[in-house]
Amino acid sequence: MSPFLRYTIGIAVPFLSVIPTVPLLSHLEFAPYGVPLALWWLFGCIPLASLCLAVCWFAHDRHQPDEFIEADYDAGER
């Protein structure tokens, strides 16, 4: 997966699904079961966000070497 695709799926899709989509939808009077469409949409964005991140993980990040760094918590102390 290219970095462009990674950021598109991981960041652009979840952000565009919320901003400006949700405020725009909240102006519609359509309300299935009486619940504003904006709220239904927002609830749907929850699994969508997880799915987008999972795609980034399984298609790209898990194939990268993990980082394991020993921290020196006393370094730079006065």
Partner: protein
Amino acid sequence: MTAVFLGLIAFSLVLAVLSKRGHAQQKAEDFFVASGQFRTILFFFLAVGETYSITTILGYPGGIYAKGTGTAIWFLGYILLAFVVGYFLNPLIWRAGRIHGAVTLPDLFRRHYESRALELAVTVASLIFLVPLGTSQFLGLETVLKQLDWAVSPWMLTSLAGVLAFIYIAISGIRASAYVAVLKDLLLIASVLLAGLAALAHWGVAHAGAAFAHHIATPTREDDVFAITTILLQSVGFCIVPQTCAYIFTARSAHTVRRAQITMPLYMVMFPFLTLVAYFALEHGLAVKAPNEVFLSVAHLLLPAPVVGLVMAGTVLSALVILTGICLAIGPLVSRNLVPGLTGDQQRRWSQVVMALYLLLSVIGAAKSSQLLTTINNLFYFGIVQSLPGVLGILFLRRMRPLAIIAGLVAGDAVAIWIFELKIPVAGINAGFIGLLVNFAIVFAALYLSPGRERTPIIARRPRAAPDFPQR
């Protein structure tokens, strides 16, 4: 109800004691950030535990009850996108923490920019804006504990809760916080699902639909602007609040952080049920003294007493876990960053004194305040997020000047407070967002006009994996 409540609280203390096993002699870094040893599952529970506070369970339905659907939109939107931003940003913050041996965010600033003044500026700003957050937790605790109908003053009850939070911390610092967070997260999700399902069962889907329709109010342009700017500000700001940094630094590796971030949005499944509870209260004309009481009033009305005890324990623990997180962020801010030169043992001892004082001040603050929990949440973020340009400088940029970051931080906080306190009309834009724009303008003008000396950003310092570390 009381027996279940007290039993679960007692069990949380047992978990806190168990967390100390194998870590009897804790060094300061183990006390504050578990020496960066947490694996994915414990890291996930700690992260979720530090995310969903009593503000979520009481403030979210309270906000809808008092202000309508607009609250739900920005509240859900920012938490959801915070996990998305965190997937990409938090592993870098983790790497910065490891490279610089940081326990707090100001540690990063001091070591990356080599500036004591910048460390102090970030520390003081963090401390100022963390104070109301503790107050908000005690406001929520007061709402819950007075429903026990014990013949004790609310002040005494919240003080006892403060003592309990301190006991967790004193037992084993962030390890106790993480163990208690596991219980809290399970109880919280169970509580919300039970209350929401009970509301639905009592109500009937068709009736529920009619109720929702009554409470739809078309948002104004200002509502939209507030929702968008608040979501943008707080979704990024969430990653750099002091207690978030504290739990990021507990992770064992960068992949640990990423794996946990993927599943974090799924915990938000509780929000549809919390929304249902809020609308149930609205439709049934439930009489509550304050909007923050909506969730518990519905639970009392619809659930059997032992289950209400479970709900109350989950709610109380959600505040206590957050309080331990805030305390574990504030302690080292004072003992490492505000007062330099203390040894590890001294840092730990002085932190405990600071934490006790903070809890006491927050209890007093709660006794004198009655603001809506979601308002306090906004206030916290618009101040704390002003460290963002400096953090981005650590992670991505080479020539930022510490003095410019300080100027931006002070100006951003000043502008945000000025707009908020004087209620200056800004077309609905979040005051913190305007402060952040001013902040960025100052920092980037300085970067363009008078760049500082070159420092290698964290993004360019990708370390090699240790040879004995499992590769994936």
